[in-house]
């Protein structure tokens, strides 16, 4: 158990006198009563069976932060990292700031933020391994690094940057509310260390002594309606109309006089110049770029040859019986396997991959993985039994093959649906749009058609068969796929700008970066999309001779691959989470990238590490 210091001072002790019964969202602050089976149990901290007699043990606790008082001295962060033995690049608590006004009427508001142990912990819901638990004790949301397999999904869904993915250890860890201190009646280490008397802690909705507010917003704080975070603020000093961030996020905050709150809006820090920035397209999520595209292509290709003929796409009739069919299935399985391996290796702890299914109940990641696994195995079964076509057992294997085929038919699109659900994250407005679904289903058709085409058509040409009907049919499908995708893109852009008017600038800021920092790359992608659509329309209409059509189609294939990879890479690198403001070096993405580029990140004491472990 945690040892209380000799002569400990009053500031370190929890000091809740009485509590409200419900929080501002109408939820009971007392999480369980005496009759609950969870009552009176030990937290088993490091195996210690002691049960604390803290009278408020089963009440939701939270931090209280007086923004007027924070001096940005880093004592809270240091106390936290010292206690939790964290290396420089991991911080359960971080201080960032926003600034406004002009000299000498300058104002800087520091914000110290850790986990808010939310009422509605999206991390817990999103985690595929069920590494998270919201404890009845103190309402603490704790994460067990020993269960975590390092997918980092919790770091995507959390609006407050609370979970920390360690690329070195390949796992996530986060604020544990210092439950060991709470059990002894002490406030968390960060609170006890605060030198500005800014941080405080207690039963939620309680206003600490000498404080008078318990607000849920200050400039720079992400919206609180997503998770109902257990943090309250005091900020009584008047602020400037506009508060900016020193980090590289193209976001600033503007006071809305009607609501009195600060809206996030675009800050065009680096101007409106259109650039390529090819190298910046590459990110930690590169494996996901390929995995999503491959899976969509494989599902699409399967749907086409399995279902195509029965929905009137006659040109697809012959594929299943042809000599190319087995190699086609083999190729599909091969690339899907590569995709799966890549996405597994993308995990911090790939050997724990099997834990992905642990949270089918609420995690879209678990559901996606399950969907893809079922599809993959159905496809595998289908391919296996297809080997027996024409054999003595074919009367049985054909039935099994059909069963597998229908299974794949159902699970494929479902897998893609859940794949899209992964990105429907409220804390990531650029992703949280139906465009993801149209992009994924659009790619299923376009990339599926492409996959079939590049496998079957060269073989048909080599065999001297007439491939024009197939080519036209696939062109129609691909045309439809691209059209769906483009529709999504157009509406997405429009809706992102619309969100800006509603005071949520993160999506628009990402779109702004798309049009400026990656402006030229984006336009290349858009142009390729348009050209491809146009040429596919011509091909669908059957206006070309065989040779010309083959050449044009080959060109389209290449340009589609290029535009798909660019588009998907942009999708990953652009997203701007509704996270906390950073500082000039610490938690500044531009500086982190700079440190990696220049080699400064080789010095471990700079607090930046390379992402590929």
């Amino acid at each position: 158990m945690f040892q209380i210091r000799d002569e400990e001072r009053p500031y370190a002790f929890l000091a809740d006198k009485d509590n409200k019964s419900h929080n501002r969202y109408g939820k009971a602050i007392k999480l369980i009563d005496e009759n609950s089976e969870l009552y009176g149990r030990s937290l088993n901290i490091n195996g210690d069976p002691k049960v604390s007699d803290n009278p408020n043990r089963y009440k939701q606790h939270g931090f209280h932060f007086t923004a007027d008082n924070c001096i940005g001295c880093h004592a809270c962060e240091a106390a936290c990292s010292e206690k939790n033995d964290n290396p420089a690049h991991i911080a359960f608590r971080s201080v960032g700031y926003v600034e406004g006004g002009s000299y000498p009427s300058y104002q800087r508001i520091n914000i110290s933020m850790a986990c808010n142990h939310c009422d509605d912990p999206v991390c817990l819901k999103g985690c595929p391994t069920r590494a998270y638990t919201k404890f009845a004790e103190y309402g603490a949301v704790l994460q067990d690094p020993d269960i975590c397999f390092g997918c980092g999904y919790c770091t995507w869904v959390c609006p407050y940057n609370a979970p920390q993915l360690d690329p070195i250890k390949g796992q996530v860890s986060k604020c544990n509310m210092c439950v060991d201190r709470l059990e002894e009646g002490l406030k968390p280490a960060c609170v006890s260390a605060c030198l500005g008397n800014a941080l405080n802690f207690g039963v939620i909705e309680n206003i600490p002594e000498n404080r008078e507010q318990a607000k849920t917003d200050i400039p720079g704080l992400p919206r609180t309606d997503i998770t109902h975070p257990n943090i309250r603020f005091q900020q009584t000093r008047s602020t400037h109309r506009e508060m900016t961030r020193t980090d590289s996020m193209p976001i600033k905050y503007h006071r809305n006089d009607k609501t009195g709150r600060f809206d996030s809006t675009i800050d065009d820090k680096h101007g409106k110049k259109r650039e390529w920035n090819w190298s910046k397209l590459s990110s930690r999520e590169n494996p996901l770029v390929l995995f999503t595209l491959i899976t969509q292509a494989v599902v699409g290709a399967f749907l086409l040859f399995f279902m195509g003929p029965s929905i009137g796409l006659d040109a697809l009739q012959g594929i299943t019986g042809s000599a190319i069919f087995i190699p086609l299935l083999g190729f599909m399985l091969l690339i899907e396997t590569i995709g799966l391996v890549m996405s597994t290796m993308h995990l911090g702890k790939p050997h724990r991959f099997y834990r992905a299914f642990n949270n089918l109940k609420s995690s879209p990641v678990s559901r996606e993985v399950a969907g893809v696994a079922l599809f993959f195995n159905s496809l595998l079964g289908y391919a296996f039994f297809s080997l027996f076509t024409g054999s003595d057992y074919s009367h049985i294997t054909n039935i099994l093959m059909q069963i597998c085929g229908y299974a794949a038919l159902i699970t494929g699109p479902i897998a893609l649906y859940f794949m899209h659900k992964i990105y429907r994250i409220q804390a990531r407005p650029f992703w949280n749009h139906w465009q993801v679904l149209t992009a994924f289903y659009g790619s299923m058709l376009s990339m599926g058609g492409l996959l079939l085409g590049i496998t079957v058509i060269p073989w048909m040409a080599w065999q001297g068969m007439d491939f024009l009907p197939l080519l036209s049919t696939l062109s129609v499908v691909m045309f439809a796929g691209l059209l769906i995708e483009v529709t999504g893109h157009i509406c997405h852009k429009h809706d992102m700008w619309k969100l800006l008017k509603q005071g949520h600038g993160e999506g628009a800021a990402a779109q702004f970066e798309q049009e400026t920092k990656f402006g030229k790359t984006w336009w290349l992608r858009n142009s390729l999309l348009l050209i491809n659509i146009l040429l596919l329309a011509l091909l669908s209409a059957g206006l070309f001779s065989s040779t010309t059509a083959l050449i044009v189609w080959g060109g389209i294939a290449l340009s589609m691959l290029l535009s798909a990879v660019i588009g998907r890479a942009l999708f990953y690198v652009l997203v701007i989470p509704t996270t906390m403001p950073g500082a000039f070096f610490w938690k500044n993405r531009a500086f982190q990238e700079h440190a990696r580029e220049t080699g400064l990140a080789h010095r471990e004491q700079c607090g930046v590490v390379y992402e590929n472990h």
């Binding site: 004592a75 962060e77 817990l124 000039f584």
Partner: protein
């Protein structure tokens, strides 16, 4: 699934398995926080925490203190003594005996050839007081050089000089408890949240109990300026004018404490005559602070029942540093605010033991605030040490800032640097490099082998650091606190006390003078010599200090025995000096000193249109040899940066986060620019911690009294850098940590 798993694993929380907490005192700044270092079963230091019972920090620590235990194992520590004949050769490891033999031989050779003063010693504010006292004894009584000083000349010399001029002795008269009583506080060039976070917290605590006006005078909108009730954004280097103007208003409006002035000060007439010239209208033009504000502040300060001023480098590091301190003392004296609760003139010191060196190192005189110029003092010390008083010089020799020019021109041939890094910390480092090249013999004694000055050394002596040794520090409020040895010295490094003692043994005179081995024995010598002095510590012992978690001097034997019945009966020493209005001058009176203002600073002009301001950041200490290696400190500013006004930057086409080139009349530096309205349009600010950065640019004009450099007033121009990639590489190559 509100609660997640039904079957829960045990909650795992990092457990450093501390089996013992050892008491010690923080080795960073002068606040004087009590720390407990946690040791595990293997005896390794694994944790640090504030000592909750200590009066200074009451259990709190700043970002540096919280990770101080990591110092012991940080990279770059020295293991073996290193030697080389020429500075262009590589170092070779050697043993202590050979190294110290050679060192003594070189010192003797140089002194025999060019005279005793041709070998100089520059120490620090980082050692333990017993070590300072021993180094003083070694320098004054054995080696016998008069060119012996500390790097405190770069930080506290102006405060020392100002206190001496006003009160007749060094020694800050106030304490942190004054925050609890004051009715008005002015912070002059002091950014506590960044420089002294724990002292800031004490003010915050006091403010929450009882609100009092806080006035901050600083050209930057520092965190403290933002917290202030009034922020006076003063033009750099003009504090003396503001001080004169405040006194002008006070005297003009009859707000002064007439009876205090008459009873306890001299020099009123000349003082009044001088301040009469500094009416608020005139002062407003010079200082940039409007006359209404000047009057307002003057009235507020004078009418408060108790008012105090604190200051740090904004005052000290100026060509008027000493005058600035005297000016603050003048303000305190005319309002009767010395030696009373909440009424004081309190310098907030820099290094952990800047006070210890001021009291006991003999740098500027002899131990216990004694002066070389005073024959009785020379006699007393000579008798106690057992040497001929004629061995002492009769006047103080060169200060650190004059020692380097004397090396430059050949008067000084050998130099011993103890725990200081002039290659980073002195102004105009290009000149320092040139200077160090000229030395016949340079020995660098430091805890870190990678301290940049070793580039020019002939010998490097690895010293133990902080709580690898035992002894005491004195903090800003005269509180003596004990550093207990927590772990053994790293590798083959030795405590500075051991090194001094063993150097002494190698001199003939070193056998005549006693050099005790144990810190406590050295402390006893200091106790003895402190009897009856202002800095009386005769009632203290290491154990008593630990028991009280710090005792403020004066603490006499009588006080220890409970023979006094006043406020000092708690065994924690005397909180305030001069409570009876009796000062250290022979007649017991303080001096009101007229301060004419001569504007000799390098100011922005056409080719160099920006003020260059320098200062500290909370996560770093001094030249970063310590904090640069501790990730959880260093990460908040792992490389140098420059604050610049965005409007000024846009005029020059500079972009936030780009590297820029700063050019002064001394040289240039590459630095990453951070655009912020915290600084005015005509000023840039660069933290001084980084090697080969801001001090390539600074002029460092010297204060005539304290010889402290004006680090904060230089002029620069800023240029865009075309090749950002090259600039980044240069920045990386410029410092190894």
């Amino acid at each position: 699934m509100l609660f997640g798993r039904k079957k829960k694993n045990p909650v795992k929380i990092a457990d450093k398995k501390v089996v013992e907490w050892k008491y010690t005192t923080c080795g960073y700044c002068s606040t004087g926080c009590s720390i407990q270092v946690g040791l595990n079963k293997e005896g390794e230091a694994v944790s640090s925490r504030g000592a909750a019972g200590a009066d200074v920090n009451r259990g709190k620590l700043c970002v540096k203190g919280i990770f101080e235990h990591e110092l012991f194992k940080s990279s770059g520590r020295g293991d073996m003594p290193l030697v080389r004949n020429k500075i262009f050769e590589g170092y070779e490891e050697t043993d202590w005996d050979s190294a110290l033999d050679q060192m003594a031989f070189e010192i003797t050779r140089i002194q025999k050839t060019w005279g005793r003063d041709s070998f100089a010693i520059v120490s620090t504010g980082q050692l333990l007081t017993e070590e300072f006292y021993t180094l003083g004894k070694l320098s004054r009584a054995v080696i016998g050089t008069n060119n012996y000083d500390g790097n405190t000349t770069l930080c506290m010399a102006s405060a020392v000089s100002g206190y001496k001029r006003s009160f007749g002795s060094d020694g800050p008269p106030g304490c942190y408890d004054d925050f609890e009583h004051t009715e008005c506080l002015i912070a002059w060039g002091s950014n506590l949240p960044e420089q002294h976070p724990i002292i800031y917290w004490r003010i915050q605590e006091a403010q929450e109990k009882r609100k009092f006006p806080l006035i901050v005078i600083d050209p930057r909108v520092t965190m403290l300026a933002q917290k202030a009730d009034m922020h006076l954004a003063i033009k750099p280097g003009t504090d003396v004018v503001l001080l004169n103007a405040l006194c002008h208003v006070i005297l003009e409006e009859g707000l002064e404490d007439r009876s205090y002035i008459e009873a306890h000060t001299n020099g009123y007439e000349q003082f009044e005559k001088l301040v009469s010239q500094y009416d608020p209208t005139t002062a407003a033009e010079i200082t940039g602070i409007d006359e209404d504000t000047i009057r307002n502040v003057a009235r507020l300060y004078a009418k408060a029942d108790s008012a105090m001023s604190i200051w740090t480098m904004g005052i000290n590091q100026s060509t008027h540093g000493s005058d600035g301190v005297v000016g603050i003392n003048n303000l305190s004296l005319v309002t009767g605010n010395i030696g009373k609760q909440g009424g004081t003139s309190l310098s907030i010191t820099g290094q952990c033991n800047a006070m210890g060196t001021r009291e006991w190192s003999s740098c500027s005189g002899l131990p216990g605030y004694r002066a070389l110029e005073n024959p009785e003092h020379r006699q007393e010390i000579a008798d106690y040490w057992g040497i001929d008083p004629e061995f002492f010089p009769k006047k103080r020799g060169l200060t650190e800032t004059d020692i380097f020019p004397a090396i430059e021109t050949g008067q000084i041939k050998g130099l011993w640097l103890v725990a200081t890094n002039p290659m980073t910390s002195m102004p105009n480092t290009a000149r320092i490099r040139k200077t160090l090249e000229k030395l016949d013999f340079l020995v660098v004694q430091d805890s870190y082998a990678d301290v940049e000055t070793t580039q020019y050394a002939h010998m490097y002596l690895p010293a133990a650091t902080w709580a690898e040794k035992e002894g005491v520090f004195t903090n800003t409020e005269r509180r003596v606190n004990v550093v207990r040895q927590v772990v053994k010295p790293h590798g083959h490094s030795k405590s500075d006390l051991w090194i001094f003692n063993n150097v002494a043994k190698r001199f003939e005179q070193g056998h005549r003078v006693k050099f005790p081995d144990q810190p406590e024995q050295v402390f006893d010598e200091m106790r003895h010599l402190s009897k009856g002095r202002l800095v009386d510590i005769s009632g203290m012992s290491h154990d008593k200090i630990e028991q009280q978690k710090g005792i403020q001097w004066p603490y006499t034997e009588a006080m220890d025995k409970g023979e006094t019945d006043d406020s000092t009966a708690d065994g924690k020493g005397d909180q305030r000096l001069y409570t009876d209005g009796h000062f250290s001058y022979a007649d017991g009176k303080a001096k009101l000193i007229p301060l004419p203002f001569i504007d000799n600073n390098e100011k922005p002009e056409n080719d160099y249109p920006f003020w260059l301001n320098t200062g500290r950041v909370v996560e770093h200490f001094h030249s970063r040899t310590k904090t640069g290696k501790i990730g959880n400190n260093n990460k908040y500013s792992p490389m140098p940066y420059m604050e610049m006004n965005p409007d000024a930057a846009s005029d020059l086409g500079l972009v936030h986060g780009d590297y820029v080139r700063c050019v002064s009349k001394r040289g240039d530096a590459i630095v990453m620019v951070q655009l912020t309205q915290r600084v005015p349009h005509d000023m840039v600010f660069i933290p001084f911690h980084f090697h080969d950065c801001v001090n390539r640019l600074t002029l460092g004009l010297l204060d005539p009294h304290s010889r402290q450099p004006a680090f904060k007033q230089s002029a620069v121009r800023i240029e865009a850098v075309e090749d950002q990639h090259e600039a980044a590489q240069l920045c990386l190559e410029s410092r190894e940590f």
